[in-house]
Amino acid sequence: MASGDQEDLAEPVSGDVLVAQPQALEDEDLGAVAVDDPDGEGGDGAVEDERPSFVRRHASGVFVALAAIVTVGIVVLYFVIFAFGLSAVQEHRNQKQLYRTMRGLVNPASQVAPWIGGKIPTGSPVALITASAAGMKDLVVVEGSSSDQMRDGPGHLSDSPLPGQVGDSIVIGRSTTTGAPFGSVPSLRQGDKLTVITGQGTFHFRVEDTRTAGSKLPKIPPSGSLLTLVTSTGSGALGSLLDGHLLYVDAALKGQAVETPKGRPTSVSPAQIQGHGDLGALGPVLLWMVLAAASLLGSVWLISRWGWRRAWLVIAPVVFAVGWGLSDELLRLVPNVT
């Protein structure tokens, strides 16, 4: 026992290592140090463990691959959260703003009335729908019904007349994502009341029927004006996604229809038609993906410089913002009724 040197010995950091060290010091033969099980496994001295595993040999490569998959998963997860949650936040905010605008326009004292005909700029509010049976209160309808406009709420198909005008006015809305404004439309039944306020006045509609693909077209009511709400529906919890089909709810105007001012477009881009996504989003999606890749590389670089704890303060908001932008554009690719 080397008792005299005990106080000079440093505190043992690791038990095994300490044990090895005095043995090493006492030995005359310093060269014969047994590198014994540095990874902590039981030293069984088997022949197969002398060659490192594939993972160890390509440790950095495997890490990068796994990290990439995780990143993709994060992006997808972000998108899912965005689709079902964050986009609703965005839509509610847009609806509030549009409602304020619309209310101001509809006010008789206003200098400018809401658009009622001609070439209406897409995105401008054209109607307010209230349907207590479907949980809709002062829902602002914007002009244009592609997924681009769905971010703001339900959209009016541009080549159909506005609600209250002679003809069949078509309003398309989402039933699952972006706040699901038409989520309860499938539950409308015959006789339910709908009230629509446009620049031409207040109109009262009564739901006549609900139809799906292949059904007969609705009868023309005495007033000559119909309002059709289009959305998607399906059976089961995620029905509209897994088993979705288009649903049309027709409501007839009770009362006198008004005339359609001139200049209505006679055709619309395919993106506005019910059930279509907006393929025009592919460009922006690509751009956002480039931005996302750039921000990813930037974050990796920042982490390597500053370490996790400090870098995340900068990375988190950037990643959140880029993810929002990318998901927002990706949502445009989703059909405008889901």
Partner: protein, 870 residues
């Protein structure tokens, strides 16, 4: 008892049979539209006086039929046909030419003015040339006409009918034996004519500048079976003032089947001084007069032979022939020009469609001659121009067949007032020299003709590589040959057979024709560059041309440089221009095309006309009149013109292999395809249905509806009520078929309930009401301002809400015409079936998988962390 019963039976049988015969006789007499308006049969003789007995050498029973004799219009063609006449020999191809008078045994048809006593005389019958009414002889003192036993003594004199004194310009011109038949014009002037017309000729005569039209005296040829027919061009005073036929000046058609002179060669009936001396003179006179034909029956004239005067058409005026005449009284319709002199009131001007010319020319007198109505005038313009005039406010109404692109800027209703269309008319002589009557054309053939794809001229075919493999003209096109057998392969009129006579101005007719062509998939593919099954390709200048258009462009700019040589065509040598547009040479309007077809005038301006063979003043002129027997002309004309000028209309293809000729049935079949279109407030023709739908296979593709486009607001109240009256007339009595004043001529489908067009009648009446009220409404359209381009700029989100809504609502109390609700709404219930479920499943599945993988990867990273790998 038995006898009584027998008598009773006999009576019954006789009365029934008499009844039946009378009934069938009346039934037969109630003629269908195909029966002639005039028919007459007579027995005619040629007889020679031998000693004191008549020796009948020829006896014929001739029946003459004329297709129409009343309500005749200027330049109208009527058909004269006959049976039982003497076969013609020494036939001249063109029966209207001056040379045709020398045919032996022709049937001479002349238009003559009636004398005061109602009779006709050779002095009031029109011929264009002095040679047709003057005969003289230098050597033989007794030409055939002097031996005419039925001629008066004055006529048998050596100098008969000459003017006294003989005008100085005529000195030493006539031979010693002369016979003059002067012409007395409507104003009383006597034109003696004479050799080379030295003693004054009417202004319309041939060698005094002539009339713009070929002359109408006809020397028809009779076939070997004794029958023949000819088309005769009827003139009014508007076409020939010297003849002067009109509604107030009676005229007749005189048909003279030439039998030859009935001879009295010894002159026993003539004054002593006019008798031939016995011996050589008598023998000559006898042989000259009693001669028959020198050519064989049915033989064409040739330069070597000499026609025999005794039996030629030149002696139509001779008493023997004249007494065999058939006189057909003619009566004329009130011409539209009558309105110019009748009324001092301002005429209501209606601009537009040439398709309506025949109808309005019958309608105009109905208005101007009725003192309680007002005069109106149809100003012929192209339809696009007429619509622009209405949009600008210069015109109050337009006759049009299309809607105005971009709208009129005010509510304008389209009231249907006529159903007619275009015809592809032709004058083609078949390989046998006779007129071809059964032409069939496909849209592809029409496209080939219009796109200058046939070279037409060898110079172009040889020099233009693009057209080198195309047939020279349509008669060498296998597609045409298969459809139209009996036409010479490679006609002489090659340039005319490589183009469709068309117009240079904007027209809805061209739009309709190009819509028909464009709707045919074969024609469209060919226009886009696909060769047809024999390798013919479209002229590259027209490849891919966007149709329809309302003006046909001339796009080829190829010049056959080797041909542009002073020896070939001096005009083109000095001023080279693209050649193919010279072949197309479009005319100014459709009426010009009708006239060119009527008189066989080819329009291609490829002839260099020089004055005295020098370069000064040389210019390119039209090819001109084609030779009868070798004619080939195709052009687009209004359908109603075909009926008036007896033009042939081609049958056009609908579905593959089916060809439809224009007639009331096929026009009606086309109208049954129409449905009201709210965006244009009209009934557009669905051209794609002709080739695809079986219901449309019997419909004539050239059918066009003519609308009166009348504004329903902004018109002066007098004009508005006049237009309303006019519209009501057009929808009711104006649609009564007939040739009288105010009736609808043939070539139009009458708009009435019998033809299933009562909706048109109703609509036009409603438009009339709206025009009268000037209420800004258009029947069948809830909101007139929703029609393309109707300007209502106040509705674009400007102005306050309340004033806006009141303005919008005040634009008409009755929003709906309750009977038209199904028509008003355009239900846009696009009940689509989109397989959202399938796509959704894939997407959701992919997302879930990706998340799982990500989770696993994350787990792997953590594990690696713990194991110290990274």
């Amino acid at each position: 008892m038995r006898k009584l019963l027998l008598a009773l039976c006999a009576t019954i049988v006789t009365s029934v049979s008499l009844f039946g015969i009378a009934g069938s006789a009346t039934a037969g007499a109630s003629t269908s539209s195909g029966a002639p308006a005039f028919s007459s049969t007579e027995t005619i003789y040629r007889q020679n006086l031998v000693d004191t007995t008549e020796d009948v050498v020829d006896k014929r029973t001739v029946t003459v039929n004329v297709s129409q004799t009343s309500n005749l219009r200027g330049r109208q063609e009527i058909q004269v046909s006959w049976t039982g006449a003497h076969p013609t020999s020494g036939i001249v191809a063109d029966p209207n030419s001056i040379d045709a008078q020398q045919e032996e045994y022709p049937v001479v048809i002349l238009e003559c003015r009636d004398l005061a006593n109602g009779e006709v005389s050779p002095t009031t019958c029109w011929t264009e040339s002095w040679s047709e009414r003057y005969q003289d002889s230098f050597l033989n003192p007794f030409p055939a006409y002097r031996s005419d036993q039925f001629a008066s003594a004055a006529d048998r004199a050596q100098v008969a009918g000459a003017p006294t004194p003989l005008p100085s310009s005529c000195t030493s011109l006539p031979g010693p034996t002369q016979h003059w038949v002067p012409f007395v014009a409507a104003d009383g002037t006597t034109y003696y004519g004479g050799p080379s017309g030295c003693a004054k000729q009417p202004p319309e005569a041939d060698n005094v500048g002539g009339s713009a039209l070929p002359s109408n005296e006809t020397f028809g040829s009779t076939g070997l079976d004794g029958s023949g027919s000819a088309n005769f061009d009827v003139w009014t005073s508007a076409e020939n003032a010297s003849l002067g036929c009109s509604t107030t000046v009676a005229c007749s058609l005189v048909v003279i089947p030439i039998m030859g002179i009935s001879c009295d060669p010894t002159g026993s009936l003539a004054p002593h001084g006019d008798q031939p001396t016995a011996g050589a003179q008598l023998a000559l006179a006898t042989s000259q007069c009693e001669a028959g034909a020198n050519f064989s029956p049915g033989q064409l004239v040739n330069p070597e032979g000499n026609e025999s005067l005794a039996v030629s058409g030149s002696l139509w005026w001779s008493a023997s022939n004249w007494r065999n005449r058939v006189t057909v009284p003619l009566s004329f319709a009130v011409p539209a020009s009558a309105c110019a002199v009748v009324s001092a009131k301002n005429a209501l001007d209606i601009y537009g469609s040439e398709l309506m010319i025949q109808a309005t020319s019958q309608w105009e007198p109905a208005f101007c001659l009725n003192s309680s109505l007002f005069p109106f005038s149809h100003v012929q313009t192209g339809e696009p121009e007429a619509r622009n005039l209405v949009a600008a406010g210069t015109a109050d109404a337009a006759l049009t067949s299309e809607a105005q692109a971009g709208g009129y800027g005010k509510p304008v209703a389209n009231a249907p007032v006529g159903v007619s269309g275009f015809a592809i008319s032709y004058e083609i002589d078949g390989a046998n020299g006779q007129p071809y009557t059964d032409l069939k054309l496909t849209p592809l053939l029409l496209a080939k003709l219009m796109t200058e794809s046939y070279p037409g001229d060898l110079a172009v075919k040889e020099e233009d590589p693009a057209l080198a493999n195309n047939p020279l003209n349509i008669t060498l096109d296998p597609e045409f040959q298969a459809l139209n057998p009996g036409i010479t392969h490679g006609v002489a009129a090659s340039e005319a057979a490589s183009e469709l006579m068309s117009i240079s101005s904007d027209s809805d007719v061209i739009e309709a024709l190009t819509s028909y062509i464009n709707a045919d998939p074969t024609a469209r593919a060919w226009l886009n560059g696909q060769p047809d099954q024999w390798g013919m390709v479209v002229n590259p200048a027209y490849k891919g041309i966007a149709l329809p258009v309302n003006t046909w462009p001339l796009l080829s700019n190829f010049e056959p440089k080797a041909y542009y040589h002073s020896d070939n065509n001096d005009c083109l040598y000095h001023s080279p221009v693209p050649y193919l547009p010279l072949i197309s040479a479009p005319l100014a309007n459709l009426e010009d095309i009708s006239e060119s077809l009527q008189f066989d005038v080819a329009n291609s301006t490829t002839v260099c006309s020089q004055i005295d063979g020098t370069t000064t003043g040389e210019k390119l002129v039209a090819l001109g009149r084609q030779t009868v027997g070798y004619r080939f002309l195709i052009g687009i004309t209004p359908l109603a013109d075909d009926e008036r000028y007896l033009l042939n209309a081609a049958s056009l293809e609908t579905s593959s292999g089916t060809f439809v000729a224009p007639d009331n049935q096929s026009l009606q079949a086309a109208t049954s395809l129409l449905s009201f279109d709210t965006s244009t407030a009209s009934w557009p023709m669905p051209y794609t249905e002709f080739s695809s739908s079986s219901a449309a296979s019997s419909a004539y593709p050239g059918t066009m509806v003519v609308y009166a486009a009348v504004p329903t607001s902004g018109l002066d109240s007098t004009v508005a009520s006049e237009l309303a009256t006019w519209l009501r007339f057009a929808a009711s009595s104006g649609q009564t078929p007939g040739l009288g004043v105010g009736q609808l001529p043939p070539g139009y489908l009458p708009i009435n309930a019998t033809d299933g067009l009562e909706s048109f009648v109703q609509y036009t009446d409603e438009v009339a009401d709206d025009v009268q009220a000037q209420n800004g409404q258009i029947p069948g359209i809830a909101d007139p301002s929703s029609i393309d381009g109707v300007d209502d700029s106040s509705s674009f989100g400007t102005g306050t809400f309340s004033s806006l809504s009141s303005r919008v609502r005040s634009a008409g109390n009755s929003v709906f015409n309750s009977s038209m609700i199904p028509v008003l709404l355009s239900i846009e219930g696009r009940t689509l079936h989109i397989a959202l479920g399938a796509v959704g499943t894939y997407i959701v599945g992919t997302i879930v998988l990706v998340l799982l993988f990500a989770g696993a990867a994350f787990g792997g990273i953590l594990l690696g962390r713990r194991r110290g790998i990274w």
